[in-house]
Symmetry: C2
DNA sequence: TTTAAATGATACCATATTAGTATCATTTGT
DNA sequence: ACAAATGATACTAATATGGTATCATTTAAA
């Protein structure tokens, strides 16, 4: 099983590429050519990134997308949140029937701690850190 | 998204229940009654737990399942491995095309570290610790 | 020794999620 | 006016998950 799905993956790739183009507006077709991601799929993803404030968009002829934040302010866990929803260790096995008293539930607390640590670690992975890496390849 | 799926969830519940019955052999129908998990589904899960050494099984009339290990030696990450495969942060975005040199890849190392920490934290959650919790409810 | 009650193995079906496409509406520069 | 871009959204396809059915094998006991 994977923590990161295709949408998030493509979003990372696209954002990475855009960050490298320092401040230049890009249209979807520029990106598909470079990244080899299917046009309509990538478009959907960029629209979502726009909707959630990662990209600024301009419509009409000559329009396109551009990063709306510094790569240092784009965090992996935020991208995961957009495309995959909130990270949960489990939906069901800690439900009321097994564990009715949330506060006294040791296990629930442990699991929730693990979740928190995982999220905070994912939030240390910024778009910036991905780019540094790519420069070195 | 959830780290733990239904199979793993039911497996935990079943193992927990069995651990409470100290050393008593149980058949699937005993468990379905207690846990309200559909019979054929639970059966499939118990068979898998047997196959992977968590349970001992005896066939034929009067047969059934019994824990094959101490609850202290049953780890959450092992159960996840059985029912959901190896935990991976990502299958694709760190593939060869983006990151051809595995050793020099800073990001890959970071991600792999996060993975390792997550796994080691999950491995601290034993069946034992779940039961302690349940006693207190 | 037959039979019923149990698991072993495995193929199958149903539903949900993920991946990807298509299309019409709106905006905007020329 | 028109072409080129995104906005919104509905749709289809593929895969993963959740769950069922069934036949084979083993075993205790009548």
């Amino acid at each position: 099983m994977s923590l990161i799905n295709r949408d998030t993956d493509y979003a990372i790739k696209a954002l990475c590429f855009m960050a490298k183009q320092n401040k230049e507006k890009l249209k979807v077709s520029d990106l598909t050519r470079a990244l080899k991601i299917p046009y309509p799929f990538l478009r959907k993803i960029l629209q979502a990134l726009h909707k959630h404030g990662f990209l600024a968009a301009s419509k009409g002829k000559g329009g396109g997308f551009i990063l709306a934040r510094s790569p240092r302010r784009i965090f992996l866990n935020d991208l995961i949140l957009v495309f995959q929803g909130p990270l949960k260790l489990n939906n069901c096995f800690l439900n009321k029937k097994i564990c009715p008293d949330v506060n006294s539930c040791l296990l629930r607390r442990k699991i929730s701690d693990i979740e928190k640590r995982l999220k905070s670690e994912l939030s240390l992975l910024t778009l910036d850190s991905l780019m540094i890496n790519q420069e070195r390849r």
